[in-house]
Symmetry: C2
Subunit: 326 residues, 2 copies
């Protein structure tokens, strides 16, 4: 990492990648570190697949499929059709272009390279100036304990079973022994750091795997820069995916307040949607109300500006009010 | 193998597959065993690739690219383009559909299945009634000794270097310890067997790897059915690929007679092209002169009929003439 990091974004896939793209356009991207969840990673068809790292790479590289939020634009699907013909498993969709990254990464991992080195090299090839950093080079795997007693690998639950099984708990296999990425820890304690933003990703499956890594919570608490989360819940509903369903099944309230409660004392600031303005007073840290639904690139950039400005205000000292208008 | 095998074809890729297709249409295909060279197999991009097995599978399955002779029809190439983007090696062309077979086979091999079991299952899925049998389930790898002292893996020599280096010799690493496929050996000694045909494949790199497997030469010599080769050399030139160049570099004469000399006492009959009719008298076994250039499906079927009829004549006893007209 040649540049001093000024902003760290903790991110899952789609929603996080949208904000990361906005941030990369609203600041010097070389000063942005996007720490990617790897709890969703899995081995499939003999390949090592890192969905959140890839969504970030494709989004920041300008080749993402903006309709789906995952995978590549102008994709073809010949491989999947032929895989069905030869009897392979087809429940996880892999486009022909997307596949190239999985094949090449699997080859390089097998040759002994680290996920972070491969990720940085691929980002460089896509012309990405921001730093995409897998949360750890060691294997962490989210495991779903279903209410019926089944234990499901994450992608089996999430994609194959379409998040239908009711969940009783989540565990992160390997997390207790996994070292967080060294560049991530170094950036957290660097004087250059101005902001840590927890992206509007699923807190349970995209952010928690990062937070449970040894030392990360302490480093975030000790970090001089403000830690700000953006709520992934708008008007009591998740914008995408089963976040709400999962929160409810685990006994949490599916609301912006519920997410803030989940992050607890970690937050120095919290950004909630205009639809949730009435919740601001009930949240235990400074709140900024903003338009958080990112439909187009302007939305992504506007939310990124809100994050950076809010962080600057929080760093400058208490404003005298928990709620500041835009 | 539920049916008794009546014809065994020893085959490499393109030329062999053409004749194998003809045979499968001119006889009960369940009685046809095509023994595929696996000396060309290699590990590339972390995948296990079996070019000759695949060419046979695609050809007999009716999905081959008839323009190139290898790969699949109606193929797309998104993977290769994206592989170049992420810095992968692109000297070996892998179509998006073709890739599915490599990925699925690699997964199944890693899970402990044999190449022959996977090949049979895939053939079944493509509706192939003939039996495609890899020559061995153990690893045999053709290695090229170049005249300049380099040792080159076969595909590195053949595809990456486009067969340009002058060769001093060929070795088949692993062959001395590799067991020939058990079904192949069993079929060779079965009473049902009527013909063994050595397809018009490159004798040095497609047929020799089969012949050098322990026990194969003896089993062919002991086999009661006639062993017939079809010359891959027509009018002193190979129809495809560097067969002629390789023969000359190894001190052989590039002619139908040169190939017969290479197979030596193994042959009970030899089929040469009409262009080479003048060589018939100089060949040390019964010769059939025929049109061996297979341009369309009719050519493939006609040559297959010639093989089967010639075998029947040879089995019936000496004809009194080395050369019999069609």
């Amino acid at each position: 990492m040649s540049e001093a990091i000024r902003c760290i974004a903790l991110s899952g896939g789609i929603g996080g990648a949208k904000l990361a793209l906005g941030l990369s356009l609203e600041m010097d991207p070389a000063g942005l570190m996007v720490v990617a969840n790897t709890g969703d990673d899995f081995e499939h068809l003999g390949l090592s697949i890192s969905p959140d790292v890839d969504t970030l790479t494709y989004t920041l590289g300008g080749v993402a499929n903006t309709e789906t939020g995952w995978g590549r634009a102008d994709e073809t699907w010949s491989f999947m059709g032929a895989l069905a013909e030869v009897g392979g498993e087809t429940w996880f969709n892999l486009g022909d272009k997307d596949l190239a990254l999985h094949v090449e990464r699997s080859r390089r991992l097998a040759a002994g390279e680290t996920l972070s080195a491969i990720t940085a090299d691929v980002a460089d090839r896509f012309g990405i100036a921001a730093n995409i950093v897998p949360m750890s080079n060691e294997k962490v795997r989210t495991v779903v304990a279903a209410r019926n007693g089944e234990r499901l690998d994450f992608q089996d639950y999430f994609v194959h079973r379409q998040a239908a099984p009711e969940i009783a708990g989540l565990t992160f296999a390997g997390a207790a022994d996994a070292r967080p990425n060294g560049e991530f820890l170094a950036a957290l304690s660097a004087l250059s750091l101005k902001t840590v933003v927890i992206c509007p990703s699923n807190p349970l499956i995209s952010i928690d795997p990062i937070l449970v890594l040894p030392g990360v919570r302490n480093a975030l608490a000790a970090c001089p820069a403000p830690v700000i989360a953006v709520s992934p819940i708008v008007g009591g509903r998740a914008l995408k995916g089963p976040t709400g369903k999962m929160m409810q099944e685990l006994g949490m309230t599916c609301s912006a307040k519920g997410v803030a409660g989940h992050y607890g004392g970690l937050l120095d600031g919290y950004i909630i949607d205009e639809a949730d303005g009435d919740l601001a007073a009930a949240i235990d840290c400074p709140v900024r109300v903003a338009a958080t639904v990112m439909t187009d690139l302007d939305d992504r950039r506007a939310l990124a500006r809100t994050v950076l400005e809010f962080a600057a205000e929080l760093a400058a000292g208490p404003s005298g009010s928990q709620v500041s208008a835009r």
